[in-house]
Symmetry: C2
DNA sequence: AATGGCTTACTGACAAGTCAGCAACATGTG
DNA sequence: CACATGTTGCTGACTTGTCAGTAAGCCATT
């Protein structure tokens, strides 16, 4: 009945200088994993998660699909790490800069829309995964839902701040949802049809929604 | 070497009075096909086109997947007919009523958003297929692109009409894109998170965009 | 020498599409 | 009206292909 694993379970010796039995990744492994994550982001972004295959991802980094599984275990885990990696990248992009708030947040959003025109791949990846996540039992669903909730909160907060806290929570949240919605919706149209002017339409819509939430009196209402 | 078709390659045997060689669909077949189309719309709408299987569709109408292929030939053809069927339904819904124009179009859009709250399945089907179509070589891509183009045209036209034709084409089209975008984008958020108020947010956003395009002077602009 | 990073080889599941064949039916002919 | 003819609607079995995941072993790094 000798130990199944090597180092025995029993009384933890004070010293705890456990040498082996731990993972010691080789140098260069981290970068390789990152390579795979970037390849996977590209594949899932262009073909979708369900349709994109591990073989497709593997080919881009010159290994076999089994090699990919060696690093990530399952396809779903790979997706999850792709999403986490993307979050990390986003944070890194904002490094140093404080998280924008108030009016700055909206100029930041508009700048992002402008920059996105030259990042078609990234936009498509985001769009495809977001939309795919509404299908049944999709592994990215929680991530996407959470992301929307956080974004709505941040934007609603910025609106309250600009509006000197005279805007109701409901209105601020509605406006926030609308701003996110219009950004996403315009991206879809732009991806499908190059004649859609992503930057201008987005800017216009954000300004329109901001004006309406800050000056409801000036807004013409529809009947009913 | 004329007739490739038609029987009688050889000397026609005298007695044979072959008459019936015409296609005649059985009664009830049309309804059966419609049943399959509805089932397919449901499957493609909840799981997506690529992930939804013919077996899944077939099961809903109590036949095998080969039976479905008997009617539609290929899965892609089935999808195409689903989209056409949906168009037909939309037209039928507007039957009698003239196609709304001017301000009426917008009250119609708002009414639709309100009604959609009770048609989750339909909304999800539309959302999933639209988004999936941006992936590589998707068979629904043309249909979706075309649909957006037509919608943009109609909405832009209505804006021009309301604005007494003082709104530039570019502005009208931008506003039209934004309205479509916000409707679609809000649907995604609403599907993922029930706390999003689809009807109210949509109404608010459409009013905001309309106000901005009709009264640009009142709109506060962002720097840059 | 040991273990991390792979490969090759394989499995089981599931997918779309083909095909032969069968029962139910419609129709022109007698 | 009757019925032979041949099509329609469909099944079940099969082919072909793709995929995620597993197992075992080889090699180079540590």
């Amino acid at each position: 009945m000798v130990s199944v694993m090597d180092d025995d379970v029993p009384p933890v010796p004070a010293g705890t200088s456990r040498r082996p039995a731990v993972r010691r990744p080789r140098k260069g492994t981290a970068e390789r994993r990152a390579e795979i994550l970037r390849a996977a982001a590209h594949t899932f972004g262009s073909k979708g998660y369900k349709t994109g295959s591990l073989a497709d991802v593997a080919e881009q980094v010159g290994i076999t699909h089994a090699g990919v599984l060696h690093h990530f275990g399952t396809k779903e885990q790979l997706l999850i790490e792709v999403l986490e990696y993307r979050d990390l990248e986003d944070v890194r992009d904002l490094e140093g800069q404080h998280i924008p708030d108030g009016m700055e947040l909206f100029t930041h959003l508009v700048r992002t829309a402008r920059a996105n025109v030259d990042r078609r791949g990234i936009v498509q990846g985001y769009t495809v995964l977001t939309a795919e996540s509404v299908t049944e039992d999709h592994p990215a669903r929680n991530w996407v839902t959470q992301r929307f909730a956080v974004l709505r909160g941040e934007i609603a907060h910025a609106i309250q701040e600009i509006g000197d806290h005279k805007v109701s929570d409901e209105q601020a949240t509605r406006a926030a949802s609308a701003i996110i919605g219009v950004m996403d919706g315009l991206q879809v149209q732009w991806l499908l049809d190059g004649t859609v002017d992503l930057a201008e339409s987005t800017t216009f819509a954000i300004e329109a929604i901001l004006s309406a939430v800050l000056n409801p009196a000036e807004t013409t209402h529809l009947p009913e």
